[in-house]
Symmetry: C2
Subunit: 120 residues, 2 copies
């Protein structure tokens, strides 16, 4: 599929997809049989990857972190041990974030109590 279809399927603009391509998150292929143009072609895996990018970005992962994550997933140059190490590291960092968020919840709840009490 070409970039326009990829854009429609993922809800990510062509501009941003090209930016991700430059950043190394995805890779389109050129069709060598076609000499008249330079169009990139994308496969289903790229759709999956962009969906992962969207999810990971929404929880605050940077492009560089997402890049590591996708390497652990799709890159066959990494050993199983290396992949598991990257994945475990991400799991730990997620747990850490959840912990911090819960801490902030507690603080805000306490603030709420204080605000209500001050009102009396």
């Amino acid at each position: 599929m070409l970039i326009n279809e990829l854009s429609k399927r993922t809800g990510i603009t062509a501009h941003t997809i090209r930016f991700y391509e430059k950043s190394g998150l995805i890779k389109g292929k050129r069709d060598e049989n076609v000499k008249s143009n330079n169009y990139f072609h994308y496969d289903e895996e790229t759709v999956e990857k962009l969906e992962l990018v969207r999810d990971a970005k929404s929880i605050g992962f940077t492009i560089s972190e997402i890049s590591q994550l996708m390497d652990a997933w799709y890159n066959n140059k990494m050993t199983v041990a290396e992949k598991l190490s990257v994945l475990d590291e991400k799991l730990l960092s997620i747990d850490e974030r959840i912990k911090q968020l819960k801490g902030m919840k507690k603080m805000i709840s306490q603030f709420k109590k204080d605000v209500i009490e001050d009102d009396c």
Copy 2:
């Protein structure tokens, strides 16, 4: 206290503190009795505020969100109802983030399983 002490107590550089001041997160006071300089003086509340900024930033809150949160806390121009509304909104957004993080944990755990199975 002056900016240098504030910096030492919070671990935030003077440059960044001045940036936060420009952004409206904190406010130093000038001593009107002293005419020879223009130095800002900060109180304990400012230390508290900067600690809150640090915590909130670490969980991905933007300066604008932190600003709202601090208004709900310290600004006496807001009604109790308005304050509670801001705090409740932040609590909801934190819950949403925790939900997304848990979703990502599930995905990564599944990836781990897949990586291990592929290895067999």
